[in-house]
Symmetry: C2
């Protein structure tokens, strides 16, 4: 087994150089099983490259195949399973004490403990997955794992489920292409109707995911078209092949299914969730799935949403629909991820009383308590659709008796489509840290982790930003979003800037040829604030959209204003924004518990960055920040575009210093050129639009094209 990435693909956060600290040590591995083999394989490759050794204590004590170099009696590093019998004799007495006394546990299915004493570093886990995560943790720590003594540290993932969803089509969709909302080439799983024969890329992907903590992957688009529907039955073998490759990295495979499958695939006349034949069909099909893929994760469903079939056609509700699939999965321990992205996409723009923001809550909150234990409702983090700024979805505070997962979008549909630098860690961190019931009460992270008052966990999900691009994500710097997602799913309290540091240390520093500190500074300059920069030059003050309808890239202020999609800004000559108050608007603020129901309702207390999401205000309205709305629009748009110009200059300077691979530098430069062009286009269109509407000139006399 090789763990090296395919030659033509960027190593991302697992370059061989990052394994030098581990690979130059002498390591003892204690335990067995598939994932322990993976650990051994990683160590074998790293030590072969960097001069260390790796040996196992059981069952055979044999060195990895082909390695006949002598290993010292006392190792530098021990990775041991507590369930594999007594610790090997080579472990120093000083380390045995704390661990054997049981103070390390409980570590759970994926946790590990780490310590260093007297020149030996030890990673202990109860289950093989813990050892794998422990190994990648060591890689992150680098030399600091092998220096001074380290007290015992326990690491357990906050979220049991840390999932990446691929919106990949098997067939090329005539409009959406191979990857719906994909900005990094084709799918790594599928190509032109077929499974890709070569799974090396998928294996490399699994390794990257494991190294940032992801443990579940949905391998096809939630919009399940005709060909994709067959993955559940006659093309299940394609899914099994992917599962086989991801299994060694602790990743379970999930499948998006079409709710109408009993009709489309089973030849039944109905997909009614209460119909006996339908229930039997799902039970039978699910049994076959588990016969083929014993550790199959479960189903992912987009139902009664944007044209996808669902239980509504039969007069049933989402609980009926989700429970149907849940019952089929129960015998095998699988789960249903049932998406809450349900709204009327044929809205009449003339009708101001309908509010798309309300839809998920209105559909799902009344169903709280009716879902089976193995149903997880998957909730987009905001009430609309992955805009660069949205409030947290009120659904996340409305269903105490339901398992809720939070869905993020790593693929940058509305955040620059991997042509703009937009590091989303800070955004996700804000969402995860948001306390719907007020300070001191559970956060969104706690709700997802199940450590809130209900104790029901759902986990974290991201829509993948990965494709068959040589840099995985089109924009090389967009890799950080996938990395940060995994890390935040494991430990939501992490500082997103610190995560970026980890990512830089792994991805760039090991191969940097010049001054790594300068490279680090420049990357932080480009990325730390990039989400807020993107926000500055796009739709203002939380109002959202204003993107081109066809592809969601670039500005079109009125692009959605008179469409059926429910995404409006209502700008007229006097003001702008959506009145979602209870007093005079759609009442959406009432979907939040206090204190947010009141803060959002109040024009005075509403956070500036969400003002136009919740209120329609005159252009002269003075923000909490002191500026008028119209002047704020001008100021942020000039500032945002100017900031991109600065970053482009900084990146250009890095080239002359020779700090990064020239090909990668070129790729980022090409994207920054486009980002600047696009940011200036956003600036000019937004400023012109609002100048034409308001007639208010810029207080600083900067150029606005009338």
């Amino acid at each position: 087994m090789t763990t090296a990435h395919p030659n033509d693909v960027h190593a991302a956060w697992l370059p061989p150089e990052a394994f030098r600290p581990v690979g130059s040590r002498h390591t003892l591995v204690h335990g067995d099983g598939t994932l322990v083999e993976t650990v051994l394989g990683e160590l074998a490759e790293a030590t072969a490259r960097h001069g260390g050794t790796a040996r196992r204590t059981s069952p055979t004590g044999d060195p990895p195949a082909g390695d006949d170099r002598p290993a010292p009696a006392v190792p530098d590093l021990v990775l041991a399973l507590t369930t594999a019998g007594p610790l090997p004799a080579a472990v120093p007495a000083e380390l045995r004490g704390p661990f054997e006394a049981g103070t390390a546990g409980p570590l759970g299915a994926e946790g590990f403990a780490l310590a260093r004493r007297d020149g030996v570093t030890m990673v202990l886990a109860e289950r093989p997955a813990g050892l794998l995560y422990g190994l990648f943790h060591l890689v992150r720590l680098g030399e600091s794992a092998f220096g001074a003594d380290l007290p015992v540290e326990r690491h357990r993932p906050a979220m049991r489920r840390r999932m990446v969803d691929h919106w990949d089509n098997v067939d090329v969709h005539p409009v959406m292409g191979q990857v719906e909302r994909g900005y990094a080439g084709g799918s790594i799983f599928w190509r032109a109707g077929e499974a890709r024969g070569d799974l090396a890329r998928v294996r490399a992907y699994g390794r990257l995911l494991a190294a940032c903590g992801v443990n579940a992957v949905a391998v096809n688009n939630v919009n399940v078209h005709a060909t994709e529907a067959h993955l559940l039955t006659d093309r299940l073998g394609d899914v099994a092949a992917i599962a086989d490759v991801l299994r060694p990295y602790g990743i379970r495979v999930h499948l998006s299914v079409n709710f109408a499958s009993p009709v489309a695939l089973g030849g039944l006349s109905t997909a009614d969730p209460l119909d006996g034949d339908v229930r039997e069909w799902w039970a039978k099909v699910t049994r076959q799935v588990y016969e083929t893929i014993p550790d199959f994760g479960g189903y992912l469903v987009k139902a009664d949403s944007e044209g996808q079939p669902g239980p509504f056609a039969y007069g049933r509700d989402h609980a009926d629909g989700a429970n149907l699939l849940a019952d089929a999965l129960t015998p095998f321990g699988g789960v249903v991820h049932w998406r809450c992205f349900v709204y009327n996409h044929r809205q009449d723009w003339r009708d101001r009383s309908t509010d798309r923001a309300r839809a998920a809550y209105d559909h799902f909150a009344p169903l709280d308590g009716r879902f089976r234990d193995n149903v997880i409702l998957q909730v987009k983090h905001g009430p609309i659709d992955f805009q660069p700024r949205e409030p947290v979805s009120p659904v996340l505070a409305a269903m105490p008796r339901t398992r809720l997962a939070v869905e993020f979008q790593a693929t940058q549909e509305y955040t620059g489509q991997q042509r703009h630098v937009c590091y989303l860690g800070p955004y996700w961190s804000e969402v995860l840290g948001f306390a719907p019931w007020g300070a001191g009460r559970p956060t969104v992270a706690a709700v997802a982790a199940g450590v809130g008052e209900d104790g029901l966990d759902g986990g974290l999900v991201a829509v993948s930003n990965v494709g068959d691009d040589a840099y995985w994500t089109g924009h090389p710097l967009a890799q950080a979003n996938l990395y940060a997602f995994g890390r935040l799913a494991w430990a939501p309290e992490l500082d997103p800037v610190a995560i970026l540091d980890e990512w830089i240390d792994l991805t760039f520093v090991p191969s940097a040829t010049g001054d790594p500190e300068r490279l680090r500074r420049t990357l932080h300059e480009l990325m730390d604030d990039s989400w807020r920069t993107y926000e500055r030059y796009t739709a203002p003050l939380g109002v959202g959209f204003m993107v081109r309808p066809a592809d969601h890239y670039g500005p079109d202020v009125d692009g959605y204003e008179y469409t059926p999609w429910g995404t409006y800004h209502f700008a007229d000559r006097d003001g702008v924004g959506v009145d979602r108050t209870r007093a005079t608007g759609t009442g959406f603020t009432g979907q939040y518990p206090p204190p947010w129901s009141d803060r959002y309702e109040s024009l005075a207390d509403c956070p500036d960055e969400l003002l136009l999401f919740f209120h329609h205000v005159p252009y002269g309205h003075v923000l909490r920040g002191g500026s008028t709305v119209i002047q704020h629009i001008y100021d942020t748009h000039f500032a945002g575009a100017e900031r991109v110009a600065e970053l482009r200059r900084s990146w250009a300077e890095i080239a002359t210093a020779g700090l990064v691979d020239p090909a990668l530098h070129d790729r980022v430069t090409e994207r920054l050129d486009e980002q600047l062009r696009s940011a200036e286009e956003w600036r000019d269109q937004i400023n012109t639009y609002f100048f034409r509407k308001s007639g208010v000139p810029d207080a600083h006399g900067r150029p606005i094209h009338p």
Copy 2:
């Protein structure tokens, strides 16, 4: 040979019933040649159906094959070529006199003379095409051709070239489909990369074209993609097959070619029009074309426009480019149609000095006198792009030493896409009757016909609205546009309402089962004013566009406002319109000769319907019609949509009277439903947009959704 339409295709303006007056007569045909055979074939079929007879006088006097019915000694109808020797003895002396004295001529290549005396109707022509057009004229006249005596009438087409251009792709284009801007199904020539094997449909099409006077067809899209380029060389056989089928109807085939063909097909390193090898290549290829299709019409070229290749790449101009092809065609009598639709489609919307309306004139007017005699510049009738209302292109008055053809768009790209009733006869008639140099001076029709001061003719061209739809044009009533185009190209002075009457008489009346006058009234109600109705509910006062960019259907007021396409309205809170004056705007008015250069320049004199095309005015500006601009917008939009609702009611009433085929009625009903929905959407979006911008309420308090 059968002239019947294929069974599943609507007969359009040639239903068998329309041939009853001719087909029930005893006819003598004098002459021979391909087109005389066509005439005989038509007569054979008509007389077999309706009880008459058809005989030829020469060369054999044999009856048409299979017809052994006795013919009377004295015919009812004689169709005779003056070049086929002495008139047959059966022609009454009373008719011989006027014709034999030569008073009928000259009739030219396509003209005919008609008279009736003492129970015999006579059609005389110098060339076979004239007999064919004469026959179809008789069909139009119906019984009135066989009643009272008719004095000698001479008919000659005003335009020598009456051409239909098909924007049909051979391959299905991923965005534009099989027919670019086609709203009537697939192509009748091509399907999925191949020529359609069955040419019966093409033959039926040629027959319809001949019956309305069209004599040239371009068989492929002016955007010549990779596959289509090969029609010129290795796939020329496909074109020849079409030519073979259209030839019996007097129609010559033209081909759209790619200017870069010497590179793409010939393997040369350049397509430079002044390069010797390039000239030789075109000469050789053109010779091969004529060896295969001896009556080939010529080339049609879109060059240096919207991404198509052209002479600019080699530092040459349009005259160099067009003359290159002209020289290759000269030995064979072919012509180049070189399109003047050239403009910068990557314009910066911030740049108010660039004006797309100016582009064709700026590019071409300076080249007047430099084109070969067999180059025809093909000019879109308006300066922008087939909007529902545009002024006449100033190019048509700017090139006295150049042959100019006027291009219309029968396919309803911007006029409702054959989902809306929009009879374009009145629009085209206005354009043809427009006198660029003022009353009493030549009209646009005269320029195209070559009867103006220069004497150089170009002809009339329409982009076809025909596809493989069973009704030919999707909307059955859209057939009238193709019919009217042919008739106006033959006789531009015809009243478009009278043309509609002809069309109704041919298409509907022969098979009407109830009260044909009621049907006629209803069709006139639906169609006479339909173009102006469409104008009322779409973009106001000549400003144009405001359509959805993706498909050009339905409203999107700002859809093009910040794009590179050069089509803007500049609406702000104070006013709307494009300042194209010399005094303060782009100077476009200066491209017209007096008096229009002054009328358009003057805010007081500019016609209301073009006000916003030429001027940017405040919403309170009072039109010549007495209304303010903003109130006019509200009034016309309410009126336009209401009118569609009325028409829909009228059409519904026709059904109960059983006056038209139920399937056709259903098709029109379905389209009217969509037209009403769309018209109301236009009304509401336009009214809301301008209310939001202007803040001015409707004077009559009608509902505008804020």
